[in-house]
């Protein structure tokens, strides 16, 4: 599996341009893209089957990531955003690092 098999989805193209690490990853061959305003799946992610990193996602970006049906896994790299709790509740993600966020209470 090569670096190109990893996808990174950002909420805004400007975030990619302003984030050196994302630019470096793109240079390295990772699939780094931003969600479109229409919330349609970016063409580069059509048929994508690797792990997809949602980088500092907002809710629509996570929604779009979930819509990439072939993605092998979804990794959210995010701050402590309250709105993430519904996504956490729905998917019970493995906690890799950072603040541990609890699922939303029923």
């Amino acid at each position: 599996m090569g670096w190109e098999s990893i996808g990174i989805l950002a909420p805004d193209p400007a975030l990619i341009d302003n984030t050196p690490v994302l630019r470096r990853y793109r240079t390295r061959g990772l699939m780094v893209t931003a969600r479109s305003a229409e919330l349609s799946t970016p063409r580069s992610l059509e048929g994508f089957t690797g792990p997809l990193v949602a980088y500092r996602p907002d809710a629509p970006t996570l929604e779009l990531a979930e819509a990439v049906s072939g993605a092998g896994g979804i990794v959210a790299v995010s701050g402590n955003n309250d709105w993430l709790s519904s996504w956490i509740t729905a998917h019970q993600p493995a906690h890799l690092a950072g603040a541990r966020l609890d699922p939303a209470r029923p």
Binding site: M1, W3, S5, I6, V21, Y25, G50, P51, V53, A71, G72, G73, I74, V75, A76, V77, S78, L84, I88, H91, Q92, P93, A94, H95, L96, A97, G98, A99, L101
Partner: protein
């Protein structure tokens, strides 16, 4: 009369540590330079001065007869060097050199040390036994260098590339005639040309290099267990070992909220040194390495799967 000084206890402010490159790592006192000079014919004043300079000193008996003491000492971080001449007294005394490595060189006179119940007259450079020991000094002129044991041990670890080394000195006289000559030559040069020179000693680089050179000579000239360790190949330093430790720490804590400080602590380096070492050796930074390692985890599909979910999810 005078046994070696008991320097600051290990871990106290002023303890100097060297990093993987042999440079100071945490040396708040290494930048301080202290000098002391005493010349007196008053026995009590002389004793007071000596016990102030050498906290571990115990003298049995009272000074009698003609007395003269001239003492100069210089302290720089883990190093203390002192030279004194004493006449008019011959005392039994004891001192505790725990926490330091002290080497005396008799310029004139003779010292008798009691080691393991046996007395032996000593001339030439000799290493003081660890712990409290006793002896008898007559009219002597003596030059002593003492180095903090933790500093010397860290330095020895750096030299042999073994961070687990527990340094032990196994004898009190130089390992060979060449070792003796090297020690005497090094000490004579540094004492005369550097340690007594305020202008030179106030230059941090010269001060640090002087301490390092003396420590190197000490470890090469006096019998200790670091001599039995093979030196690492040229170009291989503790940096590689510490970076390996840092990488292992990162790999073991991918799912933990760790930062540069944690990684540096695991590698026993300062964050600044850690950052520099990563950049130099790996052309990356610890954070970048951590990020890449986490991505790599995702890349190999090793994210856990949960019952009822079609694909794994993770939160960073």
């Amino acid at each position: 009369m005078i046994l070696a000084p008991r320097l600051r206890p290990p871990g106290s402010p002023g303890r100097a540590e060297i990093d993987s490159e042999g440079l100071k790592r945490q040396t708040p006192m290494l930048d301080t330079l202290q000098r002391c000079s005493v010349a007196t014919r008053d026995p009590q004043e002389g004793l007071d001065a000596l016990t102030q300079v050498y906290p571990g000193l115990r003298i049995d008996g009272d000074p009698e007869g003609s007395f003269a003491l001239e003492l100069t000492s210089v302290t720089a971080g883990p190093l203390r060097a002192h030279r004194y001449s004493l006449r008019g007294l011959s005392w039994p005394a004891s001192a505790d050199v725990s926490g330091s490595v002290a080497i005396s060189y008799l310029l004139s006179g003779q010292v008798t040390l009691d080691i393991d119940g046996a007395s032996s007259a000593t001339q030439g450079p000799f290493l003081h036994p660890q712990g409290r020991h006793s002896g008898a000094w007559g009219e002597v002129e003596q030059l002593t260098v003492a180095l903090d044991l933790p500093y010397v041990e860290d330095y020895a670890r750096h030299l042999v590339g073994n961070e687990d080394l527990r340094l032990e000195f196994t004898g009190s006289t130089p390992v060979s005639q060449a070792g003796l000559q090297h020690w005497v030559g090094t000490l004579a040069h540094l004492y005369r040309e550097v340690l007594l020179d305020d202008e030179a000693m106030n230059v941090p680089l010269i001060r640090h290099e002087t301490i390092r050179t003396l420590t190197t000579a000490l470890l090469r000239c006096f019998p200790n267990n670091s001599l039995a360790h093979p030196h690492p190949p040229e170009g291989v330093s503790m940096v590689a070992a510490r970076i390996r430790r840092a990488k292992a720490f990162i790999d073991a804590h991918l799912d933990t909220d760790i930062g540069l400080v944690d990684i540096a602590a695991a590698a026993r380096m300062s964050p600044h040194r850690m950052l520099a070492a990563f950049r130099r050796e790996l052309d990356t930074t610890p954070r970048e390495y951590l990020r890449a390692a986490r991505l790599n985890t995702a890349r190999h599909g090793s994210l856990p799967r949960f019952p009822g979910h079609a694909r794994p999810h993770a939160l960073v």
